[in-house]
Symmetry: C2
Subunit: 237 residues, 2 copies
C-alpha cells in the first residue's frame, strides 16, 4: 500500500555518475579522436566520481549552515479578538513556506469549526490551548514550523505550550481593545456589549497580557505587511 | 533565531560539478599530458555537467517510484483494553522508522496522561478521538506516518478520522474479551468487574466492532513480533 523507501537512492547516484562519465568520454573523444583513451578515462572517471560523490556529501553535511535538518519552531500569536492574529499568522506562514520550510497555520476559528462544542470557560479554554499546543509540538518535532493564532488569554496554558515545544516564540499582537472594538469585523464586540455573547475576552473575560513575549506587534498604525515583516524580522529572518 | 533555508543549495551543486570536472581534467592530463586539452575539456565539462544535473534531477523526479515526497499514512489500531494495541503500535512505528520514514506513535494512555481530565462518556470519547484524528491528519499531511493506538470503540469517530486522513488504514486488534480479561496487565478488568471503574469498554460500555478494517490481528496465539509482521505485511511492506 505504501512505497518502499524515502532514502536517497543509490541507483539514482550511480545513474548520475554514469551519465557524467559518459559526457566526459564524449568530450575526450571529441578532442583527441582516440576511442581507447576516451573509454579508459571514462572507466576510471566513474569510479572516482562515485567515491568523490560520497566524500562531497559527507563534507557538506558537516557544515551546519547547509544541513537540511533545520530546527523549526512554534510561533504563537496571542491577542484579543480582532487584533489581527489570523491575518498576520497567515502572512507569516506564507513567508515561511516561500523560504522552502514546511509550515502549518493553526487558526483558532478554524480549529473550533472542526470541534464546535469546545466551551469558553477558563478550564475549557486552557484545555483547548494545551491540546493545540500538543499538536504544535508534535509538528515541530517532525520538522514543521507552526504558526498558531489563538486568543489564548491565560498565562497558564501559554506557559504549558512553551514548555512542551523546543523552540517557542510568543508573539503578542498587542492591538488595544479600543481599536479591536472599533474594527469589530465579525460584529462580536457589539454582541458581547449587548450581552448576547458571554465569556468574551476583553469584555467580560480577562486577557492576561504576556510579560515575556519574544515579539510584540501593535497593528493600530501599521499595515498587515509591516506587521508580518516585523514578526519575520523578530524571528531572525 | 532560525537558519535561513532548507532548499537544496545551488552552491553545493556547483561545488560538486566543479570538483567532478577537476577530476576529469586531472584524468585527461594524466592520459594525454596536454594541459591545454585537459583545461578545455574541463571548461566545457563543467557547463555540460551543470545542465545535465538539472535534466537528470528533473527526469528522476517524474518517476513516481523514486520521488522523495512519499505519501505516508495513518495506521489506526483499535481494540479492547489489553488487546495489544500499544505494544504492536510501538513495534510498527519502530519498523517504519527503521525504513527511513518519519513516524510518530500516538498512544491512548500517553495522550490521556497529558490531558488527564478527558472523560469516558460516549460524547467525550468521540471528541477525544476526533481531536487525535485531527492531529494525526496534520502529521500525515506533513509527511509523517502516524501509528495510533486507541480503544476508539465507536464507529462514528473512527469514520470521522478516516474521512479526515488521506491514507487511513484501520487495524483491528481483535483479541477476544476473554483473553484480554485473563491477561489484565493493568488490573483494570478486575476493577471494572468489581464496579470500581465504570464506563469500561467491553464490560459496561460497548465496543463497536470494525466492519471494514483493512487489517485484522488476533494476538491470542501469536507473538508480538508475528503481529507486528502481519500489520507491516498488510500495509504492503
Amino acid at each position: 500500500m505504501f512505497q518502499e523507501s524515502n532514502r536517497p537512492s543509490i541507483i539514482k547516484i550511480i545513474s548520475w555518475c554514469f551519465l557524467a562519465s559518459l559526457t566526459t568520454a564524449a568530450l575526450v573523444f571529441a578532442f583527441t579522436r582516440e576511442i581507447k583513451i576516451a573509454l579508459a578515462i571514462a572507466g576510471i572517471d566513474i569510479v572516482l566520481k562515485l567515491l568523490l560523490y560520497f566524500v562531497h556529501e559527507k563534507t557538506w553535511s558537516t557544515i551546519p549552515f547547509w544541513r537540511k535538518d533545520i530546527q523549526p519552531g512554534v510561533i504563537w500569536l496571542t491577542g484579543l479578538s480582532g487584533a489581527g492574529k489570523s491575518t498576520i499568522g497567515e502572512g507569516v506562514c506564507k513567508k515561511l513556506k516561500a523560504k522552502g520550510f514546511k509550515a502549518e497555520h493553526l487558526d483558532g476559528d478554524k480549529v473550533r469549526d472542526i470541534f464546535p462544542k469546545t466551551g469558553f470557560s477558563k478550564e475549557e479554554r486552557n484545555r483547548h490551548i494545551k491540546r493545540v499546543g500538543f499538536l504544535a509540538s508534535m509538528l515541530e518535532k517532525n520538522n514543521v514550523f507552526v504558526v498558531a493564532s489563538f486568543i489564548s488569554p491565560y498565562k497558564e496554558s501559554r506557559e504549558f505550550v512553551r514548555r512542551l515545544c523546543n523552540n517557542y516564540k510568543e508573539v503578542h499582537i498587542a492591538t488595544p481593545l479600543e481599536i479591536c472594538e472599533q474594527r469589530d469585523a465579525k460584529g462580536l464586540y457589539a454582541k458581547a456589549r449587548a450581552g448576547k455573547i458571554t465569556q468574551f475576552t476583553g469584555i467580560d473575560d480577562p486577557y492576561e497580557e504576556p510579560e515575556m513575549a519574544e515579539i510584540t506587534v501593535d497593528t493600530t498604525n501599521q499595515s498587515i505587511e509591516e506587521s508580518v515583516g516585523k514578526v519575520m524580522k523578530g524571528l531572525g529572518f
